[in-house]
């Protein structure tokens, strides 16, 4: 039974508030020290995990993918499975809810594959593949990409330029055109796959392709579903740090489950000022326990 000194107010409302934001339920009950402990402790752990994992440890769906061909997930409904880690992370409350919204957006967004709806200006990182009689030549390049769709309403064909540098460090502008390969708009990676043909108007620049990635806006990748290839990339780049980040977010969610319980039912062991019960005295070996004396009859 809950100690009557614990002000639970309405336990259902308190539990719901504790679920929405760690510490909010206790603040509603007036238990401000506990509210501070829960919000600071649990949110610190969750945010710390997100920072260690470069913002990517929380996702509700994992897309199963075996090939690494462009573009990212052109299937409308790629095979995917629920991430059981999210079952723990979602207990943190509102900070983990964007994953559900991003899952909804991901499912609705299949038509954005290979489709450019508006002019795109972004950093590009990837490789230039130049066709020559001696075979294809590959070179790593970075630069500023600027493309516009061929039609005002958007489309799969584009025109534009990629400003980069050549092998000697001099500025080089590649004219791009034709059909593009472009990853989904909503996907759990800050890198959006991109590929386009290099036009050969200038005889100095042989025809070829550019393949690589452009930036994806944070609202389109934060807590969005990701695939096994992206997980491989994260594990390759961050190594053990990504595992630690995931564990931090799981523990934060599980700790908030205890906090929600505390908001609804009060502390598990009591108020904290109870005196420990004295252990029963055991009779010494060889001695018969003294029989209880009958109460003296009142005269």
């Amino acid at each position: 039974m809950t100690d009557p000194r614990v002000p639970l107010k309405n336990p259902v409302i308190a539990a719901l508030l504790a679920f929405v934001c760690p510490g909010a339920g206790h603040y509603y009950q007036g238990r401000k020290f506990k509210a501070a402990v829960f919000s600071a402790g649990i949110l610190t752990l969750f945010v710390w995990g997100m920072v260690l994992g470069h913002g990517q440890p929380v996702y509700s769906q994992l897309i199963l993918r075996s090939s690494s061909t462009l573009p990212q997930l052109s299937q409308k409904t790629p095979p995917q499975k629920f991430s059981w880690a999210y079952a723990a992370q979602v207990l943190v409350g509102a900070p983990a809810w964007p994953a559900l919204l991003q899952d909804f957006r991901f499912r609705r967004d299949a038509d954005t594959v290979n489709f450019l709806s508006a002019p795109l200006e972004s950093e590009f990182t990837g490789r230039l593949i130049v066709n020559s009689v001696r075979g294809d030549q590959h070179r790593h390049i970075t630069g500023q990409l600027s493309i516009v769709p061929g039609r005002p309403e958007g489309g799969r064909t584009v025109t534009g330029t990629l400003t980069t540098t050549d092998e000697s460090g001099d500025p080089l502008t590649l004219n791009l055109g034709g059909q593009i390969e472009l990853g989904r708009r909503v996907f759990g990676s800050p890198l959006r796959e991109f590929s386009c043909r290099v036009l050969s108007e200038d005889p100095e620049v042989p025809a070829g392709r550019v393949e690589g990635s452009v930036e994806r806006g944070i609202l389109n990748w934060f807590q969005a579903p990701l695939d096994t290839n992206e997980l491989d990339r994260l594990n390759g780049n961050l190594s053990r740090q990504f595992d630690v980040a995931c564990v931090f977010t799981w523990i934060a969610g599980l700790l908030n489950l205890l906090a929600i319980w505390d908001a609804a039912q009060g502390p598990a062991y009591g108020y904290g000022d109870e005196q420990p019960e004295e252990p029963e005295k055991k009779p010494e070996p060889g001695k018969q326990p003294e029989p209880e004396k009958p109460a003296a009859a009142k005269s």
């Binding site: 829960f38 402790g41 205890l258 906090a259 904290g272």
Partner: protein, 58 residues
């Protein structure tokens, strides 16, 4: 010894102990005392386990 991991493990343990103790008791002093005892016990246990594993891996 991997100090980067230690710098993550110690605050993590401290937060777990404090939040866990806060769900067990209501009195502030009792919560803090219980968290300190739990933290010390956990660190000693993990330290002994760590030394034990190092000794076995030699």
């Amino acid at each position: 010894m991997d100090f980067s991991l230690l710098s993550q493990a110690l605050p993590l343990t401290a937060i777990i102990c404090l939040v866990y103790s806060a769900t067990r008791y209501e009195l502030r002093e009792k919560i803090v005392r219980s968290a300190l005892v739990m933290f010390a016990k956990t660190i000693v246990f993990l330290g002994v386990l760590y030394l034990f594993l190092i000794w076995f891996s030699r």
